[in-house]
Subunit: 369 residues, 2 copies
């Protein structure tokens, strides 16, 4: 991604880059003939004069970006799109932005490299966005860190990145609560289906680094086993990939083990719905033989057969908080620019908020004894 | 939504509106003191000088808008967002736009009034969008018609509006195919669950006006009954609202009728999944006692219990076609502007494409005898 600069325009117009800058910022100081030459070069190159757009009129386009890194909201294996947690978050952020009078742009960036950094920075420089909500699959995403350091308003959603403003749900506490509930309903052989390796580093310890959502749910699961006096069994922890298919496969795999689990906690609802289908196909009764718990409390959970016990996070509240937090950063930045305040001072005051989750109990788990 | 004009700026600055226009378009011709006065008024009013933005630099922001009229992608009854056909279309359009190097903005406009027209026109005038894909719930939406008349690139998605470029699926043929399939599998008492009244005008005849998707599916259902020699029964046509809940209620209502249907065709998959749950709760066996057919062929259909027979429309192909068509209109408009061609000539050549649907047969319908 090679970006055009005013030097390219200058070269094409046969003038100095200072002249181009003058045309962009103070056209009244440039002779009409020179202005025309520069304008013709700008048009020919399709050059977007970011600096000009910014300095001529400091217009807010009242637009925010939601950027997903290292992932895709698309189901690449199929032409059929699907209901994912990410879609739901984007829709809910769109609604929260709408209410605040903002438009939300959605972008997927497959890499955390320089090109991605330039891309997002240009959105800011061109005045196309005022702030960014980032969805990352690990803490310390270098693009987000750098944008934050440069003073651009950014909020991380769903990851407890210690270096950034962020909004997260209490994944670890949720994992613990699920195991405790299953234990109280009589389950003793509790299995877990995690997210894919890109979102869940196997072998990471509970004390090491910042966990992803999937890792935090796993650590909560380990906490729960420990609290209930149950021994973790590696063969009962299966890697999934958030899809219906992987939940189906994981449940089938767990059913075919010598010692079959009596409960499966799946890291999201889609995998849990796949598991319900696998158990139905195998003739395993839910919840009498195996209890099933999901995560996300999607609307469909009331209508699955049987209805699905699932962890609820206050997504609407979280999205509204994230947008509010981002708008405050935007306002703060605008004040700083007008007052030439110290940008480092503002960065010290990070806002990092964790929202509580709760378990919604339906028919896929046995009643507590 | 009262829009600011340069007259408001002129009043606030205590100058004539011609002076404001001059400041916006030819600042070099205005005395510095006057320029400052006008700029201060612009800042104070947060006025966005569309005309200036347009005429100063004819920059493409490479952004398209997807605008939904008279509907909402949000589930207003609940904080839990959900997988709707609209979300899927937006996601698929986003992907198609992405591939073409464009960003897609998403907007819901609850009305078809002057304010909505001004809102979208301003997006065009301010250079914030290059084109619009409109999702409408009836043909002849006045906002879309007027924008089209004014020469702004617009494509209607999902509605066969005769006055606009559009992309639709063959809803009527699909309704016919569903009834024929059910008939061949031995069903004789075939019920239909439609969309809500805002999307489906009861009593509209097959020859009258342009049908909505829901109406076209209903007409296809009537065609199918006729072809199979079955008599339409008004009590077997129930109004739903596209939600899981309404499918549940409609199926329960149909089950409690004196003469119970032996098949239910629901206008979308979400209602069909709600119906499967209602039949499960009532102990009615699917498909042996009642067959169930949905519409949209969502990814979940493989995993419902039993898996759901559903109508598939080539959404990805449709979205890619819609984006391609829109980009061609945008290019055409840019050429016209540079050549001062006759805009009426271009409008004569409407592109209107209907995509075929096909029935994906799964376990919620009986095999053909």
């Amino acid at each position: 991604m090679s970006r055009l600069t005013i030097k390219d325009v200058a070269k094409a117009a046969g003038v100095s880059f200072q002249t181009v800058s003058l045309v962009l910022n103070h056209p009244e100081k440039v002779a009409p003939r020179t202005r025309e030459l520069v304008q013709a070069a700008i048009d020919a190159l399709n050059f977007i004069p970011n600096v000009a757009a910014r300095s001529l009129r400091n217009i807010s386009t009242r637009t925010l970006a939601c950027v997903m890194f290292n992932g895709s909201s698309y189901d690449e294996r199929s032409e059929r799109t699907q209901d994912t947690h990410y879609h739901n978050v984007v829709q809910t952020l769109t609604r929260a932005a709408d209410r605040a009078g903002y438009t939300l742009l959605q972008r997927n960036l497959m890499r955390e490299d320089e090109a991605s950094l330039v891309y997002v920075r240009d959105l800011f420089l061109a005045g196309r966005i005022d702030g960014m909500i980032a969805m990352v699959n690990r803490a310390g995403n270098p693009v987000v860190s750098e944008l934050h350091r440069l003073g651009y308003p950014c909020v991380v959603y769903g990851m407890a990145d210690p270096a950034c403003h962020h909004v997260v749900q209490s994944d670890r506490q949720a994992g613990l609560a699920v195991v405790e509930h299953l234990y109280r309903s009589g389950c003793r052989r509790i299995a877990l289906v995690t997210g894919p390796q890109k979102d869940h580093q196997p072998g990471k310890s509970r004390e090491q680094g910042v966990p992803t959502s999937s890792e935090a749910r796993y650590f909560g699961y380990l906490d729960g086993l420990e609290k209930c006096g149950l021994t973790p069994r590696p063969e009962w922890v299966v890697t999934g990939d958030w899809s219906l298919e992987s939940g189906y496969r994981a449940a089938a795999q767990l059913c075919h083990q010598a010692e079959r689990p009596d409960a499966i906690f799946l890291g999201n609802d889609r995998m849990a719905l796949g598991a319900l289908k696998a158990l139905y196909d195998l003739g395993v009764k839910v919840p009498h033989e195996i209890s099933v718990v999901g995560f996300d409390n999607m609307r469909y959970d009331d209508f699955s057969i049987p209805s699905l016990t699932s962890v609820d996070a206050p997504m609407l509240e979280m999205c509204e908080f994230a947008v509010k937090l981002l708008l405050e950063r935007i306002e703060q930045r605008q004040e700083q620019r007008s007052q030439s305040a110290d940008p480092a001072a503002a960065q010290a005051a990070l806002v990092q908020k964790m929202f509580s989750t709760h378990l919604v109990i339906r028919d896929s788990t046995r009643p507590v004894m």
